[in-house]
């Protein structure tokens, strides 16, 4: 009889996990966001993801601005010993990741190697196992001169850490890595803009309006957490400035070129951003970045 009870209990567990009941449409899986939003097809959205641009994407857009490499923008490697809490470590994992991408995009090989050591140290301190982080970092060292491999490996390092942290219910730590990387990318952009009128760069900064919306959604559910509460009002202020930046699109048209086998989402975009808005964005990004790295 005892065994029968346990069989019933086990059946219940398996049933509840792998064979969800039809009424269970709003169940929250592994700490992810559950929403009540009903989209056009009138089905409940069970899972909503918000992605931020990766440091690789952000630093690549900087190259298009033809701005020169500026080593003064990097967070010094020596700062790594200052970080103790998991939130500081994760934020600066993101910062150093963006620094590494920035160095690599501008072919600064020696600096890239130095930033690798900082990331490796933080990976250890965050207790991300070797097979999720450090092993891929070793591969970066072996492939340092191969640009494509480096980007692939950096992406894998991010993905490995992101996956490991989510798997271990450390979603906030995973989010901090993304936030650190995004802020560092923004920091490069706003400071490269300093003293010059570069429309490509200005547009790149204005286009981050979408990223800050995604970031606010990403951290919104954690705003009571002390680690995020420290930064939340600053991000809220940044989001408020961005909400006044105007971006409008014409109706999108999808164009397929059969010969070149490419598909393009084609439309014109209009951006209206004032000097005051740019200066507020610069001030706030510098403030947040300083708070993260110091």
């Amino acid at each position: 009889m005892k065994y029968l009870n346990w069989l019933v209990i086990l059946f219940f567990i398996f049933g509840s996990v792998s064979c969800a009941d039809k009424t269970d449409k709003q169940k929250n899986i592994a700490g992810d966001i559950t929403l009540d939003k009903v989209p056009s097809q009138e089905k409940a959205v069970k899972k909503m993801f918000f992605n931020l641009p990766s440091p690789i994407e952000l630093t690549q857009t900087l190259l298009a601005t033809e701005s020169a490499f500026n080593p003064d923008l990097l967070n010094p490697i020596s700062n790594v010993d200052k970080y103790n809490s998991s939130s500081d470590l994760a934020l600066n994992f993101g910062v150093y990741g963006a620094d590494l991408c920035y160095c690599r995009v501008y072919d600064q090989l020696q600096s890239s190697i130095s930033y690798l050591s900082a990331i490796r140290k933080i990976t250890d301190l965050l207790q991300i196992p070797e097979d999720e982080g450090a092993e891929t970092i070793n591969r970066i060292e072996e492939n340092i001169e191969n640009r494509d491999s480096i980007f692939q490996i950096i992406a894998e390092t991010y993905a490995g850490a992101n996956g490991y942290l989510k798997e271990n219910e450390r979603d906030l730590t995973a989010a901090f890595i993304l936030i650190g990387g995004w802020i560092e990318g923004m920091y490069f952009a706003v400071n490269l803009m300093d003293g010059q009128i570069n429309q490509t760069l200005i547009n790149n900064i204005a286009e981050q309006k979408y990223a800050i919306e995604n970031l606010m959604s990403l951290i919104g559910e954690y705003k009571e957490n002390p680690a995020i509460a420290e930064f939340y009002p600053h991000f809220e202020e940044l989001a408020a400035v961005y909400s006044t930046v105007e971006i409008s699109h014409e109706k999108s048209v999808v164009v397929t070129d059969q010969e070149a086998k490419t598909t393009t989402i084609d439309n014109e975009m209009k951006i209206i951003v004032t000097d005051k808005q740019l200066s507020d964005i610069t001030r706030l990004v510098n403030q947040i970045r300083l708070k993260i790295v110091s």
Partner: protein
């Protein structure tokens, strides 16, 4: 006391199985979905969840001007053909894999920067099945190094 112990064991088991579910999802994504991104560079963000038949998941993401992207949506076989659509902020459908035999990926370039939504719908169960099937669904984004 025995009852409390049973509940504790139940709780631990339940948590363990949920974690296992996510771990399996992570392995599924790594082994089965990520190779489909090649030669695009993975954006490094893991968007995967265990979904049931009839569930919908959405991903909000910015796609930058003059970049080449690949969206990969892959799902556990038992869920059947999963539909994915790309919509702009006005709800205009830019792509649906329903028109392309439920292909698992789509490559495109954006002329202007866009905030777009990838919407993934797992098909409803058919027939008189009382229990829903569930499985891992992953949405991965890759981009090309255009330099």
């Amino acid at each position: 006391m025995k009852t409390i112990s049973k509940f504790i064991i139940l709780f631990v088991l339940l948590g363990g199985f949920q974690l296992t579910g996510f771990s399996q999802c992570k392995s599924f994504t790594k082994d089965y979905c990520k190779p489909k991104l090649h030669p695009y560079i993975y954006n490094g963000q893991l968007n995967s969840a265990v979904l049931n038949q009839g569930d919908v998941a959405e991903l909000m993401l910015t796609f930058y001007s003059n970049q080449d992207y690949r969206i990969v949506v892959c799902a556990a076989e038992e869920l059947g053909p999963v539909r994915f659509r790309l919509l702009d902020l006005n709800g205009q459908v830019l792509f649906t894999n329903e028109d392309h035999n439920f292909i698992e990926y789509w490559d495109f370039r954006t002329r202007a920067t866009h905030q777009l939504m990838v919407e993934v719908s797992v098909p409803e169960s058919v027939g008189e099945e009382k229990l829903l099937k569930s499985g891992c669904v992953s949405i991965l984004i890759g981009f090309l190094d255009n330099q």
